[in-house]
Symmetry: C2
């Protein structure tokens, strides 16, 4: 089993399962998804990240105990990844680092799209000079904004603008774009490759998981 950690609290089980479901469908591997307790708004600043990290660690430790053979922290900022790696004996991968490393292996200049003020530090560190720009779509400050027609239009505009800045591929710096399957829309409209956060963590996790069977 692959254990997937959502870094916010959702009451709706369908929301909790959404990333895991994408990975199960694309890579034919079993995924168990859990969310951390008491953070309905997830991580949106240093304080909430600090609060979340011990919960991420506890959840990861628990998932290892339940038999998971690899863990995913399903967030573009990889919150708590080093802390969790120090506490478990199985690999821990992060959405941000997986997407960055997949993008880096292609070697293309990339444009990043996210919903926060800036690029998650782990992505900046791993992609470095390959980054041509980062954009937060106009009016999009949380993932639900991406569900509106206006939000999608703004997001597509951002991708187009990054291509005009020289990007040869788009990398998602937020898993919200994965949940709405926005990669397909960019590929269709702009004809360039998209590195999707959840797809990348799934690619790496499934490749590892299949070895351990």
């Amino acid at each position: 089993m692959i254990g997937l950690i959502r870094v916010f609290t959702a009451k709706d089980n369908e929301v909790v399962q959404s990333h895991g479901k994408l990975i199960q469908e694309n890579y034919a591997v079993p995924v168990i998804s859990r969310s951390i307790p008491d953070q309905p708004y997830g991580i949106y600043d240093d304080e909430t990240e600090k609060t979340a990290i011990p919960k991420i660690v506890d959840l990861g430790v628990q998932l290892e105990k339940e038999g998971c053979r690899i863990l995913i922290i399903s967030c573009a900022a990889d919150p708590g990844i080093n802390e969790l790696r120090a506490r478990v004996s199985i690999p821990v991968i992060g959405g941000g680092s997986s997407a960055s490393l997949v993008a880096r292996s292609l070697g293309l200049p990339v444009g990043l799209m996210g919903i926060t003020e800036g690029v998650p530090p782990v992505m900046r560190e791993l992609l470095g000079e390959l980054i041509v720009g980062y954009i937060r779509p106009d009016g999009v400050t949380n993932t639900t904004d991406l569900l509106t027609e206006e939000g999608r239009r703004a997001a597509l505009e951002s991708a187009r603008s990054l291509v005009n800045q020289g990007a040869k591929a788009i990398v998602f710096a937020c898993t919200g774009f994965s949940t709405i399957s926005f990669a397909g829309e960019i590929r269709r409209e702009l004809g360039i490759p998209v590195i999707d956060t959840v797809d990348s963590e799934g690619l790496i996790a499934a490749n590892f998981y299949k070895q351990t069977r």
Copy 2:
């Protein structure tokens, strides 16, 4: 089509196709393989690398013209990758960088196994502090040595020694280990994950290729 470049000259078509065949079988994508001309001994020092690079570039340019949508330089040293990236409009991936980036995304301390004097510079750069050691198996100086019983025994001994040094995963720094499917043997005998050069380049290339269909 994925275009795969072998960085030596082989008369035997089965040898030329061996990496591409592994990728086709594992990832269900079409691969066309070609080898560079007039270098039966491949790349084994600075001089032979210098001679090979323009041939790798020419071959890559030709494969793009023939309709390939992504190119692989199937060698752990990524020879000529920057030169070729500068000349084509499609992504170029390398065996060494792909394996390093897949390993890095798992975040485990790794032991590297190769058949050359030291770690290929691209792998050292990308894996950095994750590397706990590098070993060339005793008596193994070219890939054909891996085909003997003695060579396989020495290679397994090397992997065991890297685990004793603290490696939690093995990364191949030579595609020769891929050709003889040595990863399965290490997993069976030592029970640790193995990041295989050809498998990693195939993983990244196939993930990209499937987007472009």
